[in-house]
Subunit: 207 residues, 2 copies
DNA sequence: GTCTATACTCCGATAGAC
DNA sequence: GTCTATCGGAGTATAGAC
């Protein structure tokens, strides 16, 4: 764990990805830089470029790991939520919030526009698997069509991402409100949205 | 409007704020810089510093205008939504999304952490007024307590911000889905959340 | 009130020593 | 496989001419 003045690490590549998560959690994508990651590990700013062609390829590796781990967290949360399909889908919102607050790597990084052109098959497979899992959870609620399932996933992710952003931007006085409490609120909000989606709704002016 | 090679503008200060909005709408806070704003107006990179002490003070002026205009947009939307308090509060979500997509200045900028220490009374008054308006709309739905009103505002903003982020990150294929259509979906989602908040809800595991 | 010019910092990325 | 050293570019901000 001590990386004060090391020359080689067993595998710098893996350490770079881990340190990138730490940096993202603390400083966000805004504060992320290859140089800062290297500094954090006590290696030179040139060292990362032996393992990643450029900044985008490092972020792509982070994206792949984040998609894999977030998917695992979602599957675990759905399992804990029991058999009700709506509760299972709603649990995604809480799992997303907790994962992103802990790791700093949310959809903004997993599906970052700047990674779209990076030809990383591993990342593409993980991000595809994540989306497939989300759509399966949505379909299980009884969506009649693929379109409906997509809308349900959008709703769930929107509310999860919205609450997550509010936490990250400091809207909840951090001292007084725990992450788990806010995750529960996000899950509850998602549950309400999912329940409402199954019923016809009165016309509302689009204001 | 032509700023190709101008020496002085009637008021560069106002022009800088306007150009900042344009830049934020196109490139986000990520792509914002004082230098880029100056470039956009055809003035030197030093010129802005005659009108704003530093980058944070320019962003603070943007924040103040954004809070003022967003509040006006919200009040207008609530007026168009009719007399039902729940519909009026829900309309905030759509108004927020449309305003932020158009101007690039959402809560991330209006309540940006990097502005917290900037002593700009004009901004503080506008941001306070915006929050007061939101709480009034929430209270009108029949919230028993201030705490409940805060939770309602949080829900509404979370869903609005969540949908807005999905649009900004390109989750909706821009070509096929109009901003107004997505604003309507955000409003509808907020309406469902507000309706659910008024009723007791079954216990859900916080997954 | 804006200009030119400059100092400083940080980042991305490369070259070559070891 | 990591180092030192360096280049080029961008951004923030200041100094001094006009």
């Amino acid at each position: 764990m001590s990386a004060e003045r090391g020359y080689h690490h067993g595998s710098l590549r893996a350490a770079l990805v881990r340190a990138s998560f730490d940096l993202l959690a603390e400083c966000g994508l805004h504060g992320f830089s290859v140089a800062a990651v290297a500094r954090r590990l006590g290696v030179s700013s040139a060292a990362p470029y032996r393992h990643f062609a450029d900044r985008a390829h490092l972020l792509s590796a982070v994206s792949a790991d984040a998609a894999r781990d977030l998917r695992a967290a979602i599957i675990a949360a759905a399992g804990a939520a029991g058999p009700d399909p709506a509760a299972r889908l709603a649990s995604v919102a809480g799992a997303y919030l907790r994962y992103v607050i802990r790791t700093g790597a949310g959809f903004q990084i997993i599906y970052a526009a700047e990674l779209y052109a990076v030809p990383d098959d591993a990342r593409r497979e993980q991000t595809r698997a994540l989306m497939t899992t989300l759509l399966e959870l949505a379909t299980a609620t009884g969506s009649a069509s693929y379109q409906e399932a997509v809308l349900l996933v959008e709703e769930t992710i929107a509310v999860a991402h919205g609450y997550t952003s509010l936490v990250q931007d400091g809207f909840f006085s951090r001292a007084s409100t725990s992450v788990d409490a806010i995750a529960a609120r996000a899950t509850e909000a998602a549950r309400a949205l999912i329940a409402a989606a199954g019923r016809p709704s009165p016309p509302t002016s689009p204001g």
